[in-house]
Symmetry: C2
Subunit: 579 residues, 2 copies
């Protein structure tokens, strides 16, 4: 059985309905794209009653495939004005999938925003008043939900920023153990949840009868093959050992590491905040007494297991998991070279409930404006605490980098389509600039990260970047719709037919590789069309003005792909294999 | 001779060049529209080096025609992202015109924004460092300029808000006597001036040889006819006596007076803030001892003379001139029924240098957010003082209503295209809603105010509103391009050929009424095309969401013209006479 849970936050009703045949073909990101396009008025106020918050697991969310169980949260973004899908690990997606709930859709807005909890069970769902949760930090809220409803539930929550409907607000969840805080950070989705007065969501899978796969044997065989290939791939070991922070040294070497509000591509203290240093400190501070660990999975059964628990010198956890983007945006981008301070800043972002990318970029801009000095970690912590307290300056920072820059009078704004740029400066990695400019998601590395093409395609050259970005974007849309991690790619490179085999095994379809590719393209098209109808124009398909005129040290590059050149992206003819 | 002064704020050079033949046909608003369309990259950052601030007098700016001398300031607006033209009285326009300077164009941005003064003389122009002016209030700056460069100069200045590049910042000027502060308030043009590091502009007409009209006799005859008709028109006397505040009682009666952040169309204390009350108080407080006066011209030689000097109970000036929009936005819209408090708020807006419409709307939204209570005049004054001080909350308010609403989490935002709505709620005056939605200027009553059609067309009905708005918009574009006041209209109603006669007398053209109309339409088209290229989409052509769903007391109307219906506006076939 596959069903949708529709919740009216106005009337307080929560009802299941069966999926339509069409909806059965959608999952995760593609569910969000197609649902928005069909059901949501593109011009609506993202924080008004006509927008929806959609939580959807991927097409393979109820399988044992490695990395599957990641799920998507989406809606019309208050930052970009277009479709936003943020993808996250943790235990919630699989639990939804085992309950046969393809998506939870929050509709309308309540009379008042006194916090409520949405409790989802096998036999029904209800909204529970929870006024005491008002203003509670994210981890405390998640812990409260697990305490009250049991540690075997999947939980989602927003922090104080989401309650204030600040437009950089995140939605958080946890891993099975309740240790890692995993976030759907981008696009301000926490503000949508806040606008609907929902502080937390609990998915209790007691009594669930997980759907049977159509061809269990085929599914198992393909799943095992994916895991086998991944285990043998050398990238897997590197990721297991160093996680995403591994790329910091590479980005510094390429000259694309955001430094002092994107004014340099290398950072003097890169070694002190590198993936190697993070691993070393975790090993030092972990062991029997300490809580620090690395090589953890974010979803059960992942063979890569690239997450970590980062601890301070005392051995007590600072933040879990500490990732590359956040180190760069809160670290080098703010001229902060102290990894412990960065980890604390990351935790503060999580606890007040804002995206560390938009938050770090906003702090960088506030430093450029002279609100605090570059390098002032204590000042940065204070700014983030103010987000939670709801001071005027905190509200500005919590609204993300574009609003912060506008209010503070800064013209160097590292953002596209209203959303802060992740940790790859596009002046010296031009392929990702194409993604930032052209993706309906705005500046989002997971929408199509050209870092991995930097060996095959000159990262500072224009040649080949447009079709390459398209390929990466389609691939991202496929993986986000399957509900698997982007790091699963090596398996699909080795055997492009595996994705179709997995889907056919699960659903009894008769898909070929081309059908999988079509699913990805259709998802991107729906996202783009929704964005255009929502008012995203061709003019918005660009990198920030200063990146076209201000050379980026050390290579002194500017971004020089023209808008016209980039606009041809949708005409790209894809090769048979895009993985 | 007609010439253009081009100033590079980067290199510090200021040079005259002759007008092209094409430019000779443009004036004021149409100069701005056509210049932007030809010379400015539509996608540029409004506060970056590629935008320009354009100051242009109207086509009849150097004539003695009554009301002529009003001039236009414009650029790509940091609020709307499209063309913004703000029209203003005072003495600067005529002085520019007498010098034969059709436009002053500020280009580029400086290395740093230490305040400078642009001094314009007959034989050249220069930039003068003026670091001492940093942070100075608007009136003090204007007084400084008149003191230093002589009272016979035209002066322009920004306040602290403009220096901070806050997006609701205004540009101010004075009348000949230096008593009235006249503002080009809308669209954040003061932020553009601030981004260019120009704190003040001085136009010294010493040595000017005003251009000779081509047919002085025709020009004089037509000018006299305009003045004669105006003097005989009953509206002129009413305007002379009560000024723009005269319409407050009418708007209250129609149920369109913005009250408590546009939640009601009538205000309990309307009588206490009406035009009649303003006139009565001015008469009481004026006389021999007091400074209060009414029936003042904003440009020399105006036969209407609808401005005033408003004084407090002591007889000392509070603000000059006190106008309807500001009374409504800072008064009823904030639930403030004390006209003295409103006048002080208006003066504060002027002194810190923000548009009182966007500022008043922002305060209304801050009240809805609970930052201060509705009706709290002292709290509102404090918010405005904070704009000048540059506190975080002040910077938010100074960024206008849309940013204020976003940061404070308010969904009821009375704005279109990023700009606050003037004092006519479109739910019960639907024609102005069409203008707000469709004009490239965003919510701007001077772009096409349907108030005057409220007798001929049911203001709460949909019938006829779209073509009527178009007619009003074309008319506005014509008058703003001539450099005359909107209140000159009765003369053109009586004799539609007068506008062409005036232009032919001045320039030796051979225009007919139809050519004048074409000039207005071409101006609107250029504005619309620039906006579209800049990223203003069809989705932006709408009133705020809440005005379509939330009924407005007392008539309980919603705005119900569809976007599709309104989108036909550009197909309107105009009658021969649109005045």
């Amino acid at each position: 059985m596959n069903r949708i849970l529709e919740v009216s936050t106005r009337s307080g009703t929560a009802q299941f309905r069966p999926c339509t045949e069409e909806e059965m073909r959608w999952g995760g990101r593609s569910f969000i794209a197609h649902h928005l396009q069909r059901e949501v008025e593109p011009g609506c106020d993202p924080l008004g009653p006509r927008n929806r918050l959609i939580i959807a697991h991927g097409l393979l969310g109820d399988t044992k495939l490695t990395t599957a169980g990641r799920f998507s949260i989406g809606g019309k973004s208050p930052l970009t004005g277009g479709v936003k899908e943020a993808n996250v690990g943790g235990s919630c997606g699989r639990r939804m999938a085992r309950l046969g709930i393809k998506a939870i859709i929050l509709k309308d807005t309540p009379e008042n925003r006194t916090p409520r909890i949405l409790l989802v069970r096998n036999d029904g769902a209800e909204l529970i008043d929870a006024p005491d949760l008002a203003g509670k930090e994210t981890s405390a809220t998640l812990a409260y939900l697990r305490d009250r409803f049991g540690a075997k539930t999947g939980v989602l929550a927003i922090g104080p920023a989401g309650e204030q409907t600040l437009t950089a607000a995140l939605v958080a969840t946890t891993d099975d153990a309740g240790v890692q805080l995993r976030v759907a950070g981008r696009g301000g989705l926490g503000a949508i949840m806040g606008s609907k007065g929902i502080k937390g969501i609990v998915v209790d899978e007691a009594g669930a009868v997980p759907p049977e796969p159509a061809d269990g044997e085929m599914l198992t065989r393909a799943s095992r093959e994916v895991a086998r290939i991944l285990r043998e791939d050398p990238k897997t070991e590197n990721r297991h050992n160093f996680g995403t922070p591994a790329v910091l040294s590479l980005c510094n070497a390429l000259g694309i590491l955001p430094t002092r509000n994107f004014s340099s591509g290398t950072f003097e203290h890169a070694d002190a905040i590198s993936g190697e240093m993070v691993a070393e400190l975790i090993d030092q501070r972990g062991g029997k007494e300490g809580e620090a660990k690395r090589g953890l999975p974010c979803v059960q059964g992942c063979v890569i297991a690239c997450s970590n628990i980062f601890a301070g010198p005392s051995g007590k956890t600072t933040v879990a998991s500490l990732q590359y983007e956040n180190i760069a945006l809160l670290g080098s981008n703010c001229d902060i070279g102290d990894i412990d301070a960065i980890a604390e800043l990351n935790d503060l972002c999580n606890q007040v409930g804002i995206d560390a990318i938009d938050g770090g970029a906003a702090i960088g801009v506030a430093m450029e404006a002279g609100i605090i000095e570059f390098g002032d970690a204590e000042g940065a912590k204070d700014l983030l605490r103010q987000v939670g307290q709801g001071t005027p300056l905190g509200k500005v920072i919590g609204s993300g980098v574009v609003t912060t820059a506008r209010v503070l009078g800064v013209c160097r704004v590292p953002a596209t389509k209203g959303q802060a740029m992740p940790a790859y400066d596009p002046r010296s990695l031009k392929g990702i600039g194409v993604t930032y400019a052209m993706s309906a998601m705005g500046a989002d590395h997971t929408a199509g990260n050209a870092l991995e093409t930097a060996k095959a395609i000159d990262p500072r050259g224009r040649e080949g970047q447009v079709p390459s970005s398209f390929k990466l974007q389609v691939r991202g849309a496929i993986l986000d719709s399957l509900g698997v991690c982007l790091f699963i790619r090596p398996a699909f490179v080795k055997d492009p037919s595996l994705a179709a085999q997995l889907l056919n095994g699960r659903y009894g379809w008769n898909w070929e590789y081309r059908d999988v590719q079509r699913m990805g393209i259709d998802c991107l098209t729906a996202e783009r069309e929704f964005g255009e109808a929502a008012g995203i124009s061709e003019t918005d398909n660009d990198v920030p003005e200063f990146m076209r005129s201000e050379p980026l040290p050390p290579h002194n590059t500017v971004f020089d792909l023209s808008r016209e050149e980039m606009s041809k992206i949708w005409d790209t003819v894809l090769p048979d294999d895009i993985f």
